[in-house]
């Protein structure tokens, strides 16, 4: 796996974790 792909996957992971994390947090708080 190239260095570019590793960098991109790391950044994508941060973005997706933030997106799903914020929804999951408030979904669980609201139950």
């Amino acid at each position: 796996m190239s260095r570019n792909v590793k960098t991109a996957l790391l950044l994508l992971t941060i973005a997706l974790t933030t997106f799903f994390g914020i929804i999951a947090k408030y979904w669980m708080l609201n139950r």
Binding site: N4, A8, L11, F19, I23, N30
Partner: protein, 531 residues
Amino acid sequence: MSAVVDNHGHAAGHDDHHGYQGGVMRWIMTTNHKDIGTLYLWFSFIMFMAGGGMAMAIRLELFEPGIQFFNPDLFNQFTTMHGLIMVFGAIMPAFVGFANWQIPMMIGAPDMAFARMNNWSFWILPFAASLLIISFFVPGGAPGVGWTMYAPLTVQMGVGMDLTIFAVHLLGMSSIMGSINIITTILNMRAPGMTLMRMPLFVWTWLITAYLLVAAMPVLAGAVTMTLTDRHFGTTFFNAAGGGDPVLYQHIFWFFGHPEVYIIALPAFGVISQVIPAFSRKPLFGYASMVYATSAIAILSFIVWAHHMYTVGMPVSAQLFFMYATTIIAVPTGVKVFNWVATMWKGSLTFETPMLFAIGFLFLFTLGGFTGLVLSLVPVDVQLQDTYYVVAHFHYVMVAGALFSAFAGVYFWLPKWTGRMYDETLGKWHFWLTMIFFNMIFFVQHFLGLAGMPRRIPDYPLMFETWNKISSIGAFGMGLSQVFFLYIVLKAIRTGEKAPEKVWEGADSLEWTHLPTPVPYHTWETPPVLK
């Protein structure tokens, strides 16, 4: 970048005969960073005209008291779409256009790290913009909720709201893909010797902006997704009746929204940091402090969001925290303004159009920053929130900040991109017309706000008529001035004089010192080596 010792001679002309198809397919299929930069810039100008058209409609309605042309619902739709289109369709893509053109050339990279994804990032945008425009023509029309899309009003809107939410998702995806591309390109593809602290400041500001985008855009996407599920899937994130909280939406939105201000402002700072040294014929004063100040602004932007919502109800201790945190941002911003002025100090100044726009930026953005400080103070904000003072403030930041910087960038780099000069006299006319009309529109809005005129209303008491008339006349003049800008650019591209090899003698980044004018289609296939 005077330390560059070798460009291997591969940048020049020999390789610009291959690499793209002709006609429309060139633009649809292109993976070339320069083509994609051009697409972004033209797209942003089209959106600028669309959003500007809505601004004209708003100012037309506000020319006189009473309801003249549009019903209040349509007026709200115009204000909402004006904001969304200008922020996501015009300003952000304009600076992504600059990033695409400039970053690879400035760091000695042959293209962006993920060229196909770069194509995809752009081509998502026209579809997203179409959804926003189409929303005007569906039952119920476009959402009239304001660009902030506050709950619970969003739950009550028609199908236009769903189109807008989907458009925001697409715009967010495009931004995140673009950011990943920019960060990867800057971190991994710099030419040998191009250390981080030798990069042009424009590249630095975009590196920091891209991190902001990766962190902030998913928050907005989350907020509108929760709005969507509240509307259609029985959740109650923002519905008090189901145990949710409408104020929660505001917190989440502004956790994205304030960094968004700097997502727009930081690349604008980057352009100004290239233009001022070039026309001062001096290196940028305090380069390292500029980098640290930019980073500080980015970090602080995540802890000030609730200054947008002092009046929704929060403990005094929270108000104090957000007030002090906001005022602290003035420190790194002041460092930047100081450094730009110090760069000009005792410089060999000339005042071509890019420099005029940069100096205009300096004056007006600083004024917008000062009114921001005024609004950061809780007791003052309680009086001024939701008045035209706020409208005046953020247009000084967004228009005089970002738009003036974008104009400076276009006039600065257009000769390098196209090999043709714009008409300097017409460029100066464009600057002065924009400067005068901009202040006619927005300076007087401070007075309207201080007198208590609320924002987002199609009608107002008679006492506000004079300033509103002046503001509207300014708006029509500003709109016409931008049609004039289009003429200047088209004239330059079609019949402009041939640009000299070194267009601006004080410009010293790689594209000026080591690439021919106009730049060939492919550059840095062999990276330069810097000592």
